[in-house]
């Protein structure tokens, strides 16, 4: 099977809606198909990566641990928009996994290089 460049563009906050979680399920399947997978986090999507999620009181599954497990699936390209982080008072140290912090223009360039963009 041919290998394509799939980028998952995550722009929504976690828990308020299910998009972040169901997107992650697609990411894992794309990896299982041995595609060239990358994730990019923009706008409120950067909140997905904030560490220290405790979802006990909202009785919803937390998915923080899944970020750490991505490496086991050879998914290592996680890009985060610097401006979105800064606007929300976050730095890379606040995030649950190592990421590459990029400018909007750099993210734009990466998008242009993709074959398939799946946005959530």
């Amino acid at each position: 099977m041919s290998v394509k460049k799939f980028m998952f563009v995550n722009r929504k906050a976690p828990y308020g809606t299910i998009y972040a979680w169901e997107a992650l399920e697609v990411v894992l399947i794309a990896a299982a198909f041995e595609q060239d997978v990358s994730l990019c986090f923009l706008d409120d999507g950067v909140f997905q990566l904030k560490k220290g999620h405790n979802t006990k009181a909202i009785e919803t599954k937390a998915f923080e641990k899944t970020w750490g497990a991505l490496e086991d699936y050879d998914i290592t390209k996680l890009y985060v928009d610097a401006e979105s982080l800064a606007e929300r008072g976050l730095t890379a140290d606040d995030l649950a996994v190592p990421v590459e912090v990029l400018s909007r223009a750099e993210i734009g360039k990466l998008m242009e290089e993709q074959d398939v963009l799946l946005s959530f």
């Binding site: 906050a13 976690p14 828990y15 308020g16 809606t17 706008d43 409120d44 909140f47 904030k50 560490k51 220290g52 999620h53 405790n54 979802t55 006990k56 009181a57 909202i58 919803t60 937390a62 923080e64 606007e87 929300r88 008072g89 976050l90």
Partner: protein, 97 residues
């Protein structure tokens, strides 16, 4: 009256719109709790609003998002029971969807 806001201040005008229109109390729930977090662009909005509004944020949603330890000063954290008390306390409430 009680204004209930469940939208992120970075994604929707719900908080801005409520602040411009009303007075009384603001309760931040679901993705709305990001407005109660310090360090971000929303902090200044909440601080400016505190003259006119009492500001509350839902504990469960702050915890879920890993933000319970960085709540802006002056914001009162409430549990679901506190949510119920606020609705009972104010004669009218509005959800800014």
């Amino acid at each position: 009256m009680l204004h209930i806001i469940n939208k992120s201040p970075y994604e929707r005008p719900a908080l801005d719109s409520a602040l411009k229109t009303g007075e009384g109390a603001i309760l931040l729930i679901e993705d709305g709790v990001y407005a109660a977090v310090k360090g971000g662009a929303a902090e200044a909005k909440i601080k400016a609003a505190q003259g006119k509004f009492k500001v509350y944020a839902l504990q469960a949603d702050l915890e879920a998002r890993g933000m319970i330890d960085r709540v802006t000063e002056g914001v009162t954290v409430v549990d679901y029971g506190g949510f119920v008390d606020l609705v009972a306390e104010y004669k009218t409430n509005q959800s800014w969807l």
